[in-house]
């Protein structure tokens, strides 16, 4: 359906590819088709391109290039971290810890290990989604072999105290992995000062192409490959590289470093305009996640008395693309595990809505949302038996 205006606010799901990244990729989808493992000239060109991208990605997080393993997305990098590090340390113990608000690619990887006989402990979070450092410390055991806590949560925007958490793990010599996919384009990262042993990146969340990711693993930490094959990626990930994708990710990583300050300031402006504007126009709307320790692009809310999919569909009819963590919008029909872990009551979590901004968005986009969204909420509330009950009880 054509609408007066199109406002894309689902950048956490996908965002426009940086033209610079696309331009850098194009030769590798055309004449530069070499395989980086080949020993001839075409192979050399492809290999050099991959290694240049590796250096760029490493530079974004203050790492050494040879510590970067390219994967086919953030999900694979998280799986490789959780399963690969665990497998590499299985003689030391069987206990693993991940936060309760991790991305499914960490959480479900950990659940899969649990089925294989590992013991899994979920680190609880507070109402803002921040992990409980005291619980992390007290739940850690002599046989803990991995702790994984994300740098920031994409669904509610909360930034985790990862340096503090990594310090607690380091006291016991336990490897610490952090999923930095949602944060890496917006928060300066230095793996040395962060004190972590492994870190996940995703190209699309750096505004690079989809289908590429990377896992940084500190030199000396053993990781058993998920994919056995050739000796690509230092023998830690078999399979011919996605050269064009990797090149695109490299450019995106470099631009993330160059543009971080300016980009974050822009996104923060949009985010804060919506966070201030929406509750001023609609009552019973609550910000989810931490009010201050928050990703610059994330404005997530729960809207009481109504359900997320209805909001999403009606916004779509107005040209506004968003997402929701409600049970009805998930294919599995399960409510958001993040909101649940934060103690949001299930019926309120059904009203979840996430506006994720990207560099292409403007303040006019926020104004448009503030214009079209309140009547949508009102319309759905007029249909809602929960709202009717609320009004009756209020009298």
């Amino acid at each position: 359906m054509r609408t007066a205006r199109e406002v894309y606010l689902d950048n956490y799901a996908a965002s426009p590819l940086l033209p610079e990244a696309r331009d850098a990729m194009l030769p590798f989808l055309g004449e530069s088709f070499g395989n980086p493992s080949s020993l001839h000239g075409r192979g050399d060109a492809a290999r050099e391109a991959v290694e240049e991208a590796r250096s760029r990605v490493a530079a974004l997080i203050g790492a050494a290039p040879e510590e970067i393993i390219f994967t086919c997305n953030g999900t694979e990098a998280n799986n490789l971290a959780v399963k690969g590090i665990t497998a590499g340390s299985r003689r030391k113990g069987r206990h693993i810890m991940v936060s309760a608000v991790e991305h499914f690619s960490v959480l479900h990887a950990a659940r899969s290990l649990e089925k294989q006989g590992y013991e899994l402990e979920l680190v609880p979070v507070d109402e803002y989604g921040r992990i409980d450092l005291g619980a992390l410390r007290s739940l850690m055991r002599d046989d803990t072999i991995l702790v994984s806590v994300m740098l920031a949560n994409g669904e509610v925007g909360t930034i985790q105290p990862v340096a503090e958490a990594a310090c607690i793990a380091a006291e016991r010599g336990v490897p610490f992995h952090t999923d930095a996919a949602a944060a890496a384009a917006h928060l300066p990262i230095d793996v040395e000062s962060l004190g972590v042993q492994a870190l996940t990146l995703s190209s699309d969340l750096l505004y690079g192409p989809q289908g590429v990711g990377a896992l940084w693993v500190r030199r000396g930490l053993r990781v058993i490959p998920l994919l056995d094959g050739g000796v690509q990626e230092g023998g830690r990930r078999g399979g011919t590289e996605n050269v064009a994708g990797i090149v695109g990710m490299g450019v995106a990583a470099e631009l993330a470093r160059e543009r971080m300050t300016e980009r974050s300031a822009h996104l923060r402006g949009l985010r804060d305009a919506l966070i201030a504007g929406l509750p001023a126009r609609v009552d019973h709307v609550h910000l989810t996640g931490h009010p201050v320790e928050r990703l610059p692009w994330n404005a997530s809310f729960v809207v009481e008395f109504i359900e997320g999919e209805g909001m999403l569909l009606l916004l779509d009819q107005q040209g506004v693309a968003v997402s929701s963590g409600s049970a009805c919008t998930s294919r599995a029909l399960k409510g958001s595990h993040v909101l649940t872990a934060m103690g949001v009551p299930p019926e309120r979590a059904q009203g979840s809505i996430l506006f994720s901004f990207g560099p292409q968005n403007t303040l006019q986009d926020v104004d448009y949302v503030l214009e079209v969204f309140p009547p949508i909420v009102e319309r759905l509330r007029q249909m809602s038996p929960l709202y009717a009950k609320f009004l009756k009880e209020r009298g």
Partner: protein, 127 residues
């Protein structure tokens, strides 16, 4: 949204008969907001035993709202016996199909209508 048929989107976008009936002859509530969907149906029955008015309020996804709207349309003007024959599958069929994962949780309209009719019959029995 491609997962829904045009009929579902039409009923979701322009739901028919939304509202409450103050002096309803029967009220039926099914589902709960914890699971995701909740519907309350209100009916008014005329002297000939026909559903003169059918209204509802729905908390839930696009499918849940469309189902409520369709059930209200299907039930209006029908006799109690006819209305009791409205089934979940029949509603889904009239809507041009529902996504498989929505067949169970969102397709509660017929149940809510039947509950409202039971409520009416019970009240009538007591008179």
């Amino acid at each position: 949204m491609a997962q829904y048929s045009d009929v579902v989107m039409d009923h979701f976008t322009n739901p028919r008969n939304v509202g409450e009936i103050e002096d309803a002859d029967g009220v039926g509530e099914v589902g709960n907001p914890v699971c995701g969907d909740m519907m309350t149906f209100y009916i008014k029955v005329d002297e000939e035993g026909r559903l003169a008015e059918v209204k509802y309020k729905t908390f839930g996804c696009g499918a849940a709202i469309a189902v409520s709207s369709m059930v209200s349309e299907m039930a209006k003007g029908k006799t109690i016996e006819e209305a009791l024959k409205i089934t979940r599958d029949g509603v889904a069929e009239e809507l041009g199909g529902l996504p498989a994962n929505k067949m169970h949780c969102s397709n509660l309209g017929a149940d809510a209508l039947h509950k409202a009719i039971e409520d009416y019959l019970e009240k009538k029995g007591k008179e």
